[in-house]
Symmetry: C2
Subunit: 292 residues, 2 copies
Amino acid sequence: MNYLNTKEQVFLQIISKTLNKNSYLGDDCAFLKKEKLAITQDTLVENVHFDLSFITPFELGYKACIVNVSDILVSGAKPKYITVSLSGNLEEKFVEEFYKGINKACKDFKIEVIGGDLTKGEKITISICAIGSAENRKISSRKNAKENYIVATKGFFGSSAYYLETKDENFKEAHIKPTIFPKLLENVAKKTKKPYVAMDSSDGLIDCLMNISKQSNIGFEIEYNKIPKKIKNKDLVLYGGEDFCPVIVLHKNDFKKIKGLKAIGKTTKKMGIFIDGEDYSDKKWRGFEHFE
Amino acid sequence: MNYLNTKEQVFLQIISKTLNKNSYLGDDCAFLKKEKLAITQDTLVENVHFDLSFITPFELGYKACIVNVSDILVSGAKPKYITVSLSGNLEEKFVEEFYKGINKACKDFKIEVIGGDLTKGEKITISICAIGSAENRKISSRKNAKENYIVATKGFFGSSAYYLETKDENFKEAHIKPTIFPKLLENVAKKTKKPYVAMDSSDGLIDCLMNISKQSNIGFEIEYNKIPKKIKNKDLVLYGGEDFCPVIVLHKNDFKKIKGLKAIGKTTKKMGIFIDGEDYSDKKWRGFEHFE
């Protein structure tokens, strides 16, 4: 199975066709031009996206916010509001701790809970909708990459997946409370002159590059040794998800203006995802398969 | 157990306290004043809110939209956008039919799908976030009811619950594809001069009245024979959910201006939910218990 045959990609094609839209879910956020708003929704399901034996309700509330705030930030917008839907066989203590985590994230990221709902369900399911303001900010699109753009990033790839695989306590925080970069992404949205792409590596680095390649119709040349990482397992560095590292593809003049970004490669006219010369776009898909 | 001791109400009190907010989920929609937007999110869980042996995936997609569009309409706003999160052990045919239902609702209610996500899960879970424009419309609040206001409505109470109880085919549509009233609610939002309350009877008529009573600090006198209904079971008429009838509490001068509304009672200074003189506010709670 290659990337385009993953069930998620097949479902997205069905949805695009049914809604008669060119690229449904083309970006992490929807952007409403007139209203100058970026909107995203992400759902976390117990035993699919999290395991309550490794994350506390407080941490889960906090992380559910991170996942959505990250999508708003990489879109270029300023996170402002969230609605929170929580389902499950809920207990008072869980609800309280979960919302304490939400409340802490609200303070840390200067966002506000404006609504949501509570429903019964078998497994804990969290669906958060986040809304950001695009005022005075340049919004990213996965269609924006051009030949000879710089691929830049921040953070460490593979750490979150490494924790899940090894349960090495040194990597726990990378999984439970991944670092996101509000100030850096604000700079990208405010200082860039040319259209750019930013997305987070929530589904892994290769997934990011495949998405951008497909939508911008360009290829990539990446130097593996330049990818920031703290682990040696190459599969986890390239395919591991949930690090939420920003992956930014931008003009070299814009790259120079943004402090704190690390270049890991460039875009090419030639299609393919070349890592040290080896094409990963044709390889059997080893990333997170949402529906297997 | 009375209404305020239901698990949902207890959870909402915990959340309000944790977020340090006066009334979390006080209204069906959050209203963003500066952005002039109304936002709502509702989640439907398989075997809690729907049963796939009685509803097709197409009907489910359509109804999931109705639930959220109704919340936007009663808030007074004009429904514009939705994001759709779909979880479950999904099959291609289900995704296609579900989205065909969504697409039909988009056409019927003039809304647009702008994003969402797809994730694996055990039970089908649908979380939709809907966004409406409040431009040139007066927005409802459950705090707005005053003494001697008219309680008015449209549609038939108890029909949806009656279908679930009897599986009488004559009532199937009331449950599967409940009628909502975009034009009527647009008129309320545009023609009323005084602050008003509108909410839908998604959790039943008594639940509506309890909510408004608590937040506006007024009571109700309702005449049972004036409540529009097609069934004889009084419990289902008063407590049955999922009819999505608008329950509107408004000044009598405003009531006269809106065609198509039916008055069923009035608000009183005296607290309590009196139906033909009998107080329902102290009774053992017989409505939908979200967490039992």
